[in-house]
């Protein structure tokens, strides 16, 4: 392991430890532990804000989910770099509203079984394994929400988790090709696809309730300070991580990162540097947090989860230049359709729409605004299709939008007469 990668491990680990300390400090050790246990059997489908149960427990639960991700990356012997950091911080963010260790581990094991069958290492499928935890609510639903004895439903939920994990690599690989890497949350797209079948089956059994929004509207100091503290920490680490005199090159790399399209797979740590990437992550965090503060959005579990995902992909496809047009598209759509900027749908769409950032990065800001606009009304429709079973609902909606856009652009580009043979 390289020296800089070791430091990156320290940066990510220290962020997770900060969340654990903040969690225990907010609610006390006993109350936090009790509520962490409660979260394991709490309904996890969209949108279930874990900070309503307990802010401390939500933070520690999220950090535990992130630690599982870090352990998977370490033991599967893949580099801790842009893609793996993206997966770890994304699942950490979703640990605030849906992911728990209980509902994540069976899916990871399912992907591991698929990797053994395909005679690959878990490392080869490590990103699918971690992002695949988006289907965690299905595990929780089978275990604790369906009628039946827990004695039977608990093992059944594990089997369901293993099964969806097992089929994920096949689905994720196939769906990646149809949008050509222009939707960053491809596994979210795949999980939504699988979620359609799961929801269809559950609806046939009359076992899937309507969606409920559990949404914390109370701002708490710990949650309000979490993002700016992490943002400043990431920027400082970015400036210092590659040695005493590296701040200048890290800042230059931050500028260079803005020139990439961000199309999958764009590992900024490899294309530029870890220092520049951490600065990019920190700056994106500050922009999102500032916007949330300006519009007076509640900084609850889902909103923080959204910002965490933007930070996460700051090393793997997102940067200021390709995110802002798509976010602008969502804001315009919100205002055009007369919705509130702080309502759950629009505020979450604003952060998660950056899954389409590569379209703005490649085709320009107008294309970014258009897909952002489309994304808002798509994402508010798709959650009901899979019954909220896919936590990365924006990845699912983004995949559909990206597929439509790419299909059109591909048709346009492959039918340009000036490139035909001359008659």
């Amino acid at each position: 392991m390289e020296h800089t990668e070791k430091r990156l491990y320290i940066v990510i680990l220290s962020m997770l430890l900060m969340m654990i300390v903040a969690g225990f400090a907010t609610d006390g050790i006993i109350k936090t532990v009790v509520h962490i246990w409660e979260l394991q059997y709490t309904r996890a489908r969209l949108i279930q804000d874990f900070t309503v149960t307990s802010i401390g427990a939500a933070l520690v639960n999220a950090a535990l989910v992130g630690l599982i991700g870090l352990i998977v990356v370490f033991f599967s012997e893949v580099h801790l770099a842009g893609p793996t950091v993206a997966s770890i911080l994304t699942i950490t963010g979703f640990g605030l509203f849906g992911n728990t260790p209980f509902n994540s581990i069976p899916i990871i094991l399912g992907v591991w079984i698929a990797s053994r069958l395909a005679r690959k290492s878990l490392g080869s499928y490590s990103l699918i394994a971690l992002f695949g935890t988006a289907l965690g609510p299905l595990v929780t639903l089978v275990a604790f929400e369906l009628t039946g004895s827990v004695f039977w439903m608990l093992p059944l939920s594990i089997i369901v988790g293993l099964a969806v994990g097992f089929i994920l690599p096949a689905v994720a690989g196939s769906l990646l090709v149809i949008h050509q890497g222009y939707n960053l949350y491809n596994v979210g797209f795949s999980c939504g696809f699988i979620g359609l079948f799961a929801a269809g089956f559950l609806k046939a059994l009359h076992s899937l309730d309507d969606l409920i929004i559990v949404w914390n509207t109370q701002n708490h100091l710990t949650l309000m300070l979490l993002i700016p503290v992490f943002a400043i920490y990431l920027i400082i680490c970015g400036v210092c991580i590659e040695g005493k005199h590296s701040w200048n090159s890290s800042c230059k790399d931050f500028i260079k990162i803005q020139k990439h399209s961000g199309r999958l797979p764009s590992d900024f740590t490899d294309m530029n540097s870890i220092g520049g990437t951490l600065i990019n992550m920190g700056v994106l965090a500050l922009i999102c947090w500032t916007y949330a503060m300006i519009i007076k959005a509640p900084l609850n579990g889902p909103v923080l989860g959204g910002i965490f995902t933007v930070i996460a992909f700051g090393g793997f496809g997102k940067h200021v230049r390709n995110c802002l047009p798509v976010m602008a598209g969502v804001i315009i759509a919100t205002l055009v359709f007369g919705k509130s900027l702080v309502a759950p749908g629009p505020i979450l769409a604003l952060f998660f729409c950056t899954t389409l950032a590569p379209i703005a990065g490649h085709f320009g800001w107008i294309a970014g605004i258009i897909v952002g606009f489309i994304h808002l009304f798509m994402v508010e429709t798709t959650a009901t299709w899979h019954g909220g079973l896919d936590l990365y609902n924006n990845g699912f909606a983004g995949g559909l939008t990206a597929t439509l856009f790419v299909a059109f652009m591909q048709w346009y580009r492959t039918n340009r007469p000036q490139e035909d043979f001359k008659s």
Binding site: S76, V78, H79, P83, T84, K120, S121, G123, S124, Y125, S126, L127, I128, P169, A172, G173, S174, L176, V177, Q180, G181, L264, P265, D267, H362, M409, Q410, R413, T414
Partner: protein, 123 residues
């Protein structure tokens, strides 16, 4: 992954790259053995040192990236409309050489199982 599919993706991506410069001639040669394969592709375009170095860098990554090779490698050779990405090929092969010859550029790719040693290749 089946050999046929794997080879077809790699050839698709690398030929896509060559075709971007609109050559008048492109030749692809494939030689397979039990544990590996050798692909040679050449065209009639002489490339400058910087471009050759960029191709070499993309096709010979300094580190193995199994998490990217297996998953995102699926996109190799599937995209004719936009820029080709030689890194998708680089992550999945053992070694590549890139040189200008008398008439154009020649790219050689060696691929195979972990045990495969290009030095033992019998052509």
């Amino acid at each position: 992954m089946k050999r046929k599919e794997f080879l077809s993706r790699l050839i698709g991506e690398i030929s896509g790259y060559i075709l971007e410069s609109n050559p008048l001639r492109m030749v692809i040669s494939l030689h397979q053995e039990e544990d590996g394969a050798h692909i040679i592709i050449f065209d009639d375009k002489i490339r400058d040192k910087n471009e050759l170095q960029e191709i070499r860098k993309a096709l010979n990554p300094t580190e193995k990236r199994p998490e990217l090779a297996e998953y995102y490698g699926m996109m190799a050779g599937r995209d004719a409309a936009w820029d080709t990405r030689l890194k998708l090929v680089g992550w999945q092969i053992k070694k590549a050489t890139v040189e200008n010859n008398d008439s154009g550029t020649q790219i050689e790719l060696w691929l195979g199982e972990d045990s495969f040693n290009p030095a033992n290749f019998t052509m």
